[in-house]
Symmetry: C2
């Protein structure tokens, strides 16, 4: 396969994966081109590469910065801002997990802990089932939360070596 074809396919695959997981397709594509770029890129570069507008580029790059996946890089003697992606894939995964946990999972944990204790006759089957499910979910999500905290805080080698012990 030729480089440009491979590059296009990677951008497209990464964008598709993102959109399947609830992330703006264009944001994922911008991430893709920054991931494979050997040097920082400016807004123009990204616009040209993906054929998108300046406003769109700006918003998605800032989103990536908010996710802590991309940072601004100043080039001396140039007024433009350049952007570069975190290249360590383990670090990338860690930051994505951390952010999604904070934005999307933690609010759910908060709600579940409230829904566990509802008023009402615990002899009514609807109420019994509801409470039991909330308790199950709360316990499960709590365990997952702890496991993910581990995952976020351990380094690659430590975590995988432990995971692989489970395989032995």
């Amino acid at each position: 396969m030729e480089f440009n074809e491979a590059k296009a396919q990677f951008i497209q695959t990464w964008g598709k994966l993102g959109s399947e997981w609830g992330i703006n397709r264009t944001m994922a594509q911008v991430h893709a081109i920054l991931l494979i770029s050997p040097k920082p890129l400016c807004t123009e570069d990204i616009m040209e590469e993906l054929n998108i507008s300046r406003g769109n580029t700006n918003m998605n790059v800032r989103d990536l910065i908010n996710w802590d996946l991309v940072s601004k890089k100043l080039v001396p003697g140039d007024r433009k801002e350049y952007f570069e992606a975190e290249k360590d894939i383990w670090e990338v995964a860690r930051r994505i997990i951390k952010e999604r946990k904070k934005r999307e999972v933690e609010p759910v944990i908060k709600v579940l802990s409230q829904l566990k204790q509802i008023d009402g006759d615990s002899e009514i089957s609807e109420i019994k089932e509801f409470t039991s499910m909330m308790e199950q979910l709360d316990r499960f999500v709590g365990k997952m939360d702890k496991s993910v905290n581990l995952l976020i805080n351990e380094n690659e080698n430590k975590l995988f070596s432990l995971l692989f012990k489970l395989l032995k």
Copy 2:
């Protein structure tokens, strides 16, 4: 909090979580009401509960069945189909992970393995960076894949007890 309020809040929270993770909001809401229902529900029940059309109900229920999260339950002496959800949350998580891996992650693994070997001068920095990133991703996704297989195949107690050892 009163039962009906709690129920509404759970349906809404579950739907929101789903849509943030790329799953049809209504499908997640249908799942929510089946999760907390002590008895199987028919299409009518779901339509009324969520105020959605018959067609929409039918499609989302069938999707849930395809995800192996819901099954048909026949009630003797009744021509209607009833639906009930898998209630073991660990099993629910396992099936969701299994399905998303199959549908969304495995195609990516396949693409990455191809993109690793591209033609071109490996002295060109673009090509060097690209190849290195594809190799990194391929290794990472391969490890994740193995870890997820573990997760899918182990039972709750075994997995969590092992994860918690890491916390000690």
